[in-house]
Symmetry: C2
Subunit: 352 residues, 2 copies
């Protein structure tokens, strides 16, 4: 006998990428940043750690951090909700708009957490395949639903939908539209400018990627104040701990540091994409800190396993067996990966 | 027009106690610990901060912390789920067992978050008044529901239900039963020993109270492994950040420090309770790190405001206007509070 609500027994939870904690692997599987966060983060924590009263609850709305985020994103604090990672913010959004039988639409393939969050709400998810050129599917523009989600740049493809198309989507949608911009600092544009005109627009940001702070779990939801007020009802009172509030505030004070790392990663992305193309892979054009490489019709599981045996972790999704998603590490990380992949090709040839 | 699910428009979120961040108040309103956490916490963080790669995701299941918690609570890691504070764990539990129209039972008055979490799930909450002596209401024992919750020691009353009565409740209940033991380190007993025999039992613990770590947001849910496996589906992948995992592990390594603080607080609680009785208040017998003081039939809002004017924050719940919940601070905190209250009595007399 199960104690759980019936629909829960039928679903599996989200499976995050492997997170070995011993630091032996070159981790290119969960889109972390190969560079450390701004030195200001550790300095600020060192300075404050002995002074702060850890025995007291943190600021429920992250007042200081919201102020800092406000200067970065260009909207007042009342437009910003801070989350324990943007995963928590996604969970809040799905719970706020989707109940039993409600519909959520998003292009496919994308972040598989959306499906899990829909299932947890007993909602119906419609995964609309991207057009062949990874542009937005017509059905997403025209169909009505209770929620639409666009991961932009998209994971795992790395592809980007231009802002005018996002605006077109908003013009055609009465329901809340989430634009999950986890990777947008690596792209050439973003949707922030649309917020003023579209009360149903919800933009998500995270410090996990461009700011090199996956370890602290801080994400932002930016939307009009009325939207924020409604979503706040779902939020745990003290959802962001003191450390993370402090670390995030410091990181946002050092934008040039982040932007410099982003430029390095974009350069590496370009060189790596060229090298993988030379190796015979189809490489999707990426605006993120990862690339999806494909051998359409072939299985790439053996490549994934071979890389892992050589202490390189990349992301293999059983759902898309002819593809690998590879995070952009340092230049030497990527050169080593290419070197190892060349050997697997050699081994395979020797087998013949 | 609202974008939100209909039931959400009708409810208010949970209102946490005031959290001024400037440190000027004597904070006796949210049951924080007046003593700092074990020095081992800050030492461990200082040692690890420069070495750790904050750019990487933390352990999804808090492996190292679960191991340490396992030695403290006496159950294997597979019996333990770590949460971003026990508020997150409560939210997970309510979402796992309650849907539209399902029933949750709990004694009243208690932690008002339970009501909000039930409303968010469109569930029906039945708040069964405690017996006059604050023992468990008969109806909680006998009625069937989808979920029962016992805050033990209870907030805001501080009263405690003995373990054999909790066992009696479990014998009579087919549904999951949450025993929220946030304050149990200040009590003479706890329900951990019942876990082996009752697969529906869920025990919650937190580091926010006895371990002086409200700032780091770490709670534990302890239950049989099958229960843990089901609840994991609801959990965000990386719900506890790296800092908090590290700080919590260190705190659990220094139990004698925590126990020493608990003894001091219990001593202060006893002295404060006697002094308040002398001042003419009814003081409920407390097994927690706070006491509820009452003047049945009178309003205590003016006392709350007068204390606040004198830089002492206590908790006034508009729902229970003849009561105040006062956290136990240091001896001198409590002596100052008594001193201030004596003045309000004097002022009032002068008014006559």
């Amino acid at each position: 006998m199960s104690y759980f609500r019936k629909h829960l027994d039928l679903i599996a939870g989200y499976q995050p990428g492997e997170q070995p904690q011993d630091g032996q692997y070159i981790k290119l599987n969960t889109n972390e940043n190969p560079y450390p966060p701004s030195p200001l983060v550790v300095e600020t924590l060192m300075e404050n750690l002995r002074r702060h009263r850890l025995s007291y609850y943190p600021s429920p709305l992250c007042d200081e951090l919201r102020e800092q985020a406000s200067t970065v994103y260009g909207y007042p604090s009342s437009w910003i909700l801070v989350g324990n990672g943007s995963d928590e913010l996604l969970s809040i959004v799905f719970r706020a708009f989707l109940g039993n039988g409600d519909r959520v639409l998003y292009p496919y393939p994308t972040y598989t957490l959306y499906r899990v969050l829909a299932l947890l709400q007993e909602a119906i998810y419609e995964e609309i395949p991207f057009e062949k050129d990874y542009s937005i599917p017509e059905k997403i523009l025209t169909d009505q639903a209770q929620l639409k989600v666009i991961c932009n740049p998209n994971s795992p493809t790395g592809t980007f939908i231009p802002t005018p198309i996002i605006e077109n989507l908003l013009k055609n949608s009465c329901c809340p539209v989430v634009v999950d911009e986890a990777y947008v600092d690596f792209a050439y544009d973003n949707a922030l400018s649309l917020l003023k005109r579209y009360p149903q627009l919800i933009i998500l940001r995270t410090l996990s990627k461009s700011f090199s702070l996956a370890g602290i779990r801080v994400g932002f939801l930016i939307a009009q104040p009325e939207m924020i007020q409604g979503l706040l009802k779902m939020k745990d009172s003290y959802n962001v701990n003191w450390f993370s509030q402090k670390a995030a505030t410091a990181a946002l004070q050092d934008l040039p540091y982040m932007k410099n790392n982003v430029e390095k990663i974009k350069q590496t992305r370009q060189e790596f994409s060229q090298a993988m193309t030379k190796l015979g892979y189809e490489v999707l054009p990426s605006e993120a800190n990862f690339v999806m490489v494909r051998k359409p019709g072939e299985g790439l599981k053996s490549e994934y396993l071979y890389l892992k045996k050589n202490w390189i972790l990349v992301r293999y999704f059983p759902e898309w067996p002819d593809s690998l998603r590879i995070s952009i590490g340092t230049d030497s990380n990527m050169q080593f990966l290419i070197h190892v992949l060349k050997n697997i090709n050699k081994d395979h040839k020797d087998d013949l």
